[in-house]
Symmetry: C2
Subunit: 629 residues, 2 copies
């Protein structure tokens, strides 16, 4: 079992992540608080004032977005807290304390804490776990409380939330007199594991275990709960509890179904519990579900959940590009799940996907200026997709923010005599291996360049194994220790170098990084006759801003060079790809829509940019999957 | 100006349309009445009983499908009436009379007639023309009344509807004290022209003219009406009156927008009024809108309106295949519009599209057994699209039924000394040219074969011009009169043969009918890198039922023979296409979703069937647009 690095001890002082982490800290975090304030999210905590009109109306499911406003400032507190240790900020600190004070003031005597139900419908608390996100909201507050406590040592928020958890323990469980329920929107489960790791109170872990194990047991709690409300369970808006992964016990599930974010939060909690409880059958379920996702249901960008109608999965291999839902939250949460799996079993199949979302389908969710967002991350557009300042349901902005403000933890893991390097990108880390203190500096232009220099700082020589992930995208990797080539001993995608390391040792990795044409499985029919461009971990796209026309009109040769170069003028600097293409010529079509003569194809050049940077310039069409000639 | 043939004098006693017309008459019409009865559509007329619970709940727009149940039995009466003259049927007759009796009984003293408002919300009548389909329903009753009167000579229903129209005339118009409204769902306009053609009462034509001219005038009636209801006009669910083609006066419209069926019903009425009022500027608007539709917004099948969200148009060239809405009603109504335009100006650009919908995107809306339907006519499927027995909103079944039971009128038009032949397909017609009686028999296997024999029967020789449509799909057409080749004199797609015709004259047309590969305009990006197969007027598709796998996996060569043959075992007999293809092989992919090696392509044969016959066998994937290799 590995333990992730302390993210506060991994500094991105140069390279790719420097400006992203600075932007999120300096722009994203403060502007998100402004938006929460402007949009009335914080007013829900003015418990002494009468509740005003709804900021968000009730949906056909009975849910208003306002039911889970708590989750949004909870996630913002979490994201902001991750920045505070290394960058103390009295203003942010005061803003969090103000929220905590209101939460504490509003908390009910029995520990119950949810701004909607306390203020608007106290008599309805715990009557509709199927639709109303009650514990989802509490889970995000709990994650925020843990993060704030760890950043500042201040216990007030944590204590509020421990009381709230005590109340949940009193209310739910298998014991007589308790409700055998669990929230349809998973979240509290993984938050409880975080709490347990702070408190080491076994009741906190047990509650998470109960929620995961109770999920999907029949007869369904949601049927019973609906009948208690006087409703016919068959009238459920989403028709099947697969929407919430509650259609069968989680250990029996083999196909990833339903709402994508719910699925990833559940699987993250399952991985946490497999880790904490040493639970092999839960680990097996996670493996099966991960493999199903990656093998049949994942966009090449790491996006997931193709459909807007259930914000989630449909059938296997259904990966439409223009209507891809691929919510930012889901990609971030796949990062959570992948990362947790890698702590149990060091296998690059997990960390390869962590890297994919990080450089593609999650990062695309935030603009280069740090204050505009995508909720849906399409892989093809005719220009109608614009980044927004805030969203009707703004779950994604704080999710990508907390991912990036805690990024360091994803780069490294350690155990007694091992250090695992999962991700590449310039940074300076402080780790503990066994009882030794290790400084580990990555010097690299990754992901633009496959050369990575790693220098080790040690007070005294130390025998341990350095495990270096050899990226799945790389077909030719070399490693050197102090200038000397070494033979790679690769197990599950990680090259092990076991030796006595000493201060000043240098490891150099050379990952060959050609431009690849990627083809999709024939059953993923949307991509038939097309390929996507990848270089290193980065997926590229063609944007109308460069092409002057819709990229869908291109035909790209299946052979021939596509050159990579660094363009320092592009949005702070990025690698671009350029090559020869053909363009379907519309000039001789006039008002003809169909004809027997194929369109003429005229030669031209094309340029592709990293997918995560799309829609940061003038609006226009975009495509990841390009027609092959 | 041309006048369409009397459909009761065009008999389909052989060839392609024989079994379709028989099936619709013998199966479709009786089963549709059963469905209307089973589903409670006819109970809404039990005016003396208290109104029961809603059969269809209220939508967010405020509309229940039940608001317009009248339209469904109105359209069924119309469809059924068209069969009665040549095939008297006491049972159908009695069923219609029963409905008429109830309608007459329920009609209000002032002539108002709408089952919803009379029975449920009399105080709300005429308060929401924007959402509630009040005159749409009356329009369909009116079309039914005209058809029933013409078929049987019975005036009772017609008189009921004339009183209803009188009430509308008293209520709406520019005169002081009247409401300056018009229904957001067009339909009454074209129904009023039909009524006028029976009554020759100028007030009936004037009312239609008023509705069309008032449409889209600013300030909007719908704004004013919403304020009267105490609603904010800005809260309109569909956001723009373009949804109802009411965003600007109709003569100023140049792009086809909004709900597709509404648009086609409006344009049909505009064409009717251009014809009746000799209105050049209205005719010009129709031309512009027709050209915009055909040049930029029409599926190759004649389907139209790509989006489910507004049941209509989005942006130009947006023609997604798998999510095509392409409602059956819209294709049928494009038939109406095209046909009306051809009466004003004999141009095959109109009748080519009439033929396209007839053999493809409209006919696909009904199953070969005559009692299952498609509402949405997708051009690509993974097998999830099944024909249904009845639909939640069952507007399409009766629409395709009335199209087919009155089919004869679309084949021919006449004026003083001209006969125009618009469509081909075996039939025997009785026409009047000048004061002469003309029998015109088509002997042909069309659309499976391009040879058409036309024999003329005349009591005495008669000088007139026979105008024969040379189909737009045909690149090599020959014509023979009494065995002798003639030089084709083609004007706007019609070959004119002017001569003294005598009894027993024979015209033979030979339309070369190769298999064509059709390519789409490069801006129609969904079809880039693909082609569709067409032979004669028929668009083909590949179905999993023949292929054994998803047709999306095929790559078809851009050259090489595709052979056509008649398969008499296929759903009553149809031409099929067969040729060589390659199939993307998934056998060496296992659980890999993306890889750098393209899929292997293995040679195989493929078969294509007419698009209108798809989904009549076991469920499976289907594609019209096939990947080109």
């Amino acid at each position: 079992r590995y333990v992730p690095a302390d993210h506060t001890r991994v500094a991105f002082n140069g390279g790719f992540w420097k400006s992203w982490t600075e932007t999120v800290r300096n722009v994203t975090i403060p502007t998100q608080h402004m938006r929460l304030d402007e949009e009335g999210f914080l007013e829900v905590l003015d418990f002494d004032k009468p509740a005003g009109p709804l900021a968000r109306p009730i949906q056909p499911s009975g849910l208003s977005m306002q039911h889970f406003f708590d989750s949004d400032f909870g996630k913002w507190i979490e994201a902001a807290s991750y920045t505070l240790k290394n960058n103390p900020n009295a203003d942010i600190d005061a803003k969090i304390d103000a929220i905590v004070e209101k939460l504490e003031h509003g908390q009910m005597a029995d520990g119950y804490l949810n701004s909607w139900f306390i203020r608007r419908e106290p008599e309805k608390r715990w009557t509709n776990l199927r639709d109303l996100h009650e514990m989802y909201s509490m889970g995000h507050l709990l994650e925020g409380a843990v993060a704030y406590y760890e950043a500042t040592g201040k216990r007030r928020f944590l204590d509020v939330m421990i009381r709230a958890v005590d109340h949940i323990i009193d209310t739910f469980g298998r014991e007589p007199g308790k409700l055998r329920g669990y929230d349809a929107h998973e979240e509290i489960e993984l938050a409880l594991v975080k709490l347990y790791r702070v408190t080491r109170d076994p009741r906190h872990l047990d509650l998470a275990t109960y929620f995961v194990d109770e999920r999907g047991q029949m007869p369904s709690y949601y049927d019973e709960e609906a009948r208690k409300r006087g409703e016919d369970p068959a009238s459920y808006v989403f028709q099947t509890y697969a929407y919430s992964q509650a259609h069968m016990p989680v250990r029996e599930q083999t196909q990833v179904v339903g709402h994508a974010v719910r699925a990833m939060y559940l699987f993250s909690a399952m991985a946490d519990l497999a880790f904490e409880n040493d639970d092999e059958s839960l680990k097996s379920a996670c493996d099966r579900l991960f493999d199903n996702l990656v093998g049949r249901q994942l966009y090449v960008t790491g996006g997931l959940g193709p459909s807007a109608s259930n914000e989630g999965f449909t059938r296997e291999y259904d990966l439409p590009n223009e209507t891809a839902y691929a919510e930012t939250c889901a990609a971030v949460a796949l990062g959570f799940f992948s990362h947790r799996m890698a702590q149990i079993e060091l296998d690059s199949k997990f960390t390869d996907k962590l890297e994919t979302v990080l450089y593609n389908g999650a990062l695309s969710g935030i603009s280069r200026d740090g204050e505009h967002y995508f909720y849906e991350n399409v892989l093809e557009s005719h220009g109608q997709n614009r980044r927004w300042k805030w969203h009707y349901c703004p779950c994604c902005p704080t999710n990508i923010a907390r991912f990036i403000t805690s990024l360091g933890q994803y780069f490294y893991s350690t155990k007694a005599d091992e250090v695992a390097v999962h991700l590449y990108g310039e940074n300076a880390a402080e780790l503990t291996v066994g009882n030794a203190f290790l400084r580990l500096n990555q010097k690299t232009e990754y992901p633009w360049n496959g050369d990575v220099g790693i220098s080790l700082g040690l007070e005294q020589p130390k025998h341990f194994t350095l495990r270096l992930r050899i990226p799945g995208w790389c077909r030719d990797a070399k490693a050197f220790v102090n200038g000397e080539a070494i033979k790679l001993d690769i197990v599950k995608g990680y090259a092990a170098i076991e030796r006595e390391w000493k201060d000043g040792d240098e490891v150099r990795l050379a990952f060959d990084m050609p431009v690849d044409r990627l083809y999709a499985h024939p059953a993923a029919t949307e991509d038939n006759g097309r390929f996507a461009l990848r270089r290193g971990p980065v997926i590229f796209c063609v944007e109308e801003a460069d092409l002057g026309t819709e990229p869908q009109r291109l035909r790209l040769p299946s052979q021939g060079e596509i050159a990579a170069s660094f363009d320092e003028t592009l949005l702070g600097g990025a690698t671009v790809l350029e090559g020869d293409a053909l363009e379907a010529d519309a000039s001789d079509w006039q008002e003809t829509l169909y004809r027997t003569e194929p369109p003429a194809l005229k030669p031209r050049r094309f340029k592709a940019i990293p997918y995560h940077l799309w829609a940061n310039r003038e609006p226009g069409a975009m495509a990841v999957w390009l027609h092959e000639k």
